[in-house]
Point group: none
Chain length 226, copies 2
């Protein structure tokens, strides 16, 4: 396994130098970008594990950039963290809404930064979502095209139904409680837990029984055999 790649972007050379020096010392491979366009350039050829983005860059706004990065590989998640000097609430909220994973304040304190990055990357490594098709029993679940076929027949699912199915079928046998399903599949987590039931029922109605089991008092699981 090669070193983790971190893409750092800032319009101030001093900051880039400081980051590069410290992160390289900590064993990471560094990609430097002086502005948003360079980030997009670099991303094409390299595949950074983590982005450290200044929020205010001359050409592309950091938040914008975050949206673009998130759009490039919708199912593939890398870690995006923002660096910012001025902590303004609306920026922080916007950053998280744009899909940021963390928000780090300047001035940069090397040791703290490295500790923080280590936990971020660790989490990222433990969580490698595959965007590949999923074939299980007679189902073929294709996240790219958002289609599901059952024994060759295409079934039409809504986005939510699809996401729920894909998530559960990605972990066959594993029981999820409703909270877990809500926070993993739903955008907005503050809906009634019973909502999950209804969508499970829809899936069962669409696919037929025998794919999703109820574990009473716990939650639901995708079966391991049928």
């Amino acid at each position: 396994m090669s070193a983790q790649k971190i893409l750092i972007a800032d319009d101030e050379k001093d900051i880039l130098d400081l980051l590069e020096y410290n992160l390289e010392k900590a064993g990471y491979e560094i990609l430097r970008a002086n502005n948003g366009s360079e980030v997009l350039e670099l991303v094409k050829d390299h595949n950074p594990d983590l982005f450290l983005l200044d929020i205010g860059m001359p050409d592309i706004d950091g938040i914008q950039l975050c949206y673009q990065l998130r759009d490039m590989a919708p199912h593939q998640s890398s870690v995006i963290a923002f660096l910012t000097a001025k902590l303004e609430e609306y920026v922080e909220v916007a950053a998280f809404e744009a899909g940021a994973d963390d928000f780090i304040l300047k001035p940069i304190k090397p040791r703290a930064l490295i500790a923080r990055i280590a936990t971020l990357i660790k989490r990222f490594n433990e969580n490698l979502p595959s965007q590949s098709d999923l074939e299980i029993f007679d189902l073929k679940i294709s996240p790219d095209s958002y289609t599901v076929t059952q024994a060759g027949e295409e079934i039409s699912l809504s986005k939510l139904e699809f996401d729920l199915l894909y998530f559960m079928a990605s972990h066959p046998g594993k029981v999820f409680n409703r909270s877990q399903l809500l926070s993993s599949v739903w955008d907005n987590t503050i809906v009634l837990q019973r909502t999950v039931d209804v969508h499970i029922r829809k899936l069962r109605k669409l696919l037929g029984n025998g794919y999703i089991d109820t574990v009473k008092g716990v939650g639901y699981k995708f079966v391991t055999a049928r």
Copy 2:
């Protein structure tokens, strides 16, 4: 199934009020603690999904508390975030080393806090540190899928039966009295101690004798040999 539980701990009432008000509005269930000891008290009966801890509390130091929480088996998988007014680098590093997942600066900005908490919980759920299966004698106890197999044959247990078995089988040879079992396995501790007997009996009926021994006048234990 209840909403996500967040345990908030701070020695300032104002902060607690602010947190509670905003987090409840966002759909979380809140547990309040005014100091470290109360945190440890609350943890016994409830199982918070996330901890928001003030780093400087009168009795137990936040970092210490974090270590203690990480040592408690059931909570090794919950999210721990610190709240702190003064950002001092050495504290931040220590916090991450103690197993913290995030480090949030006061003053608290409600919207930002909620966005941040949502991503933390989401990440936690996606990381799903799968609990390890327990293999003992001819039993295989799999908490992930809530299944038990005996010599390859799947046995179907209710949630409570499963939890009780898993708990006891995790500590073979250790005798538990009924109170201990109630507070470890049951959510709601206010049931008769005799209730335990009934469920022990159910387990014996399902698994056969020879797994759980009675220690008269004390309680029950999972055997070390059979």
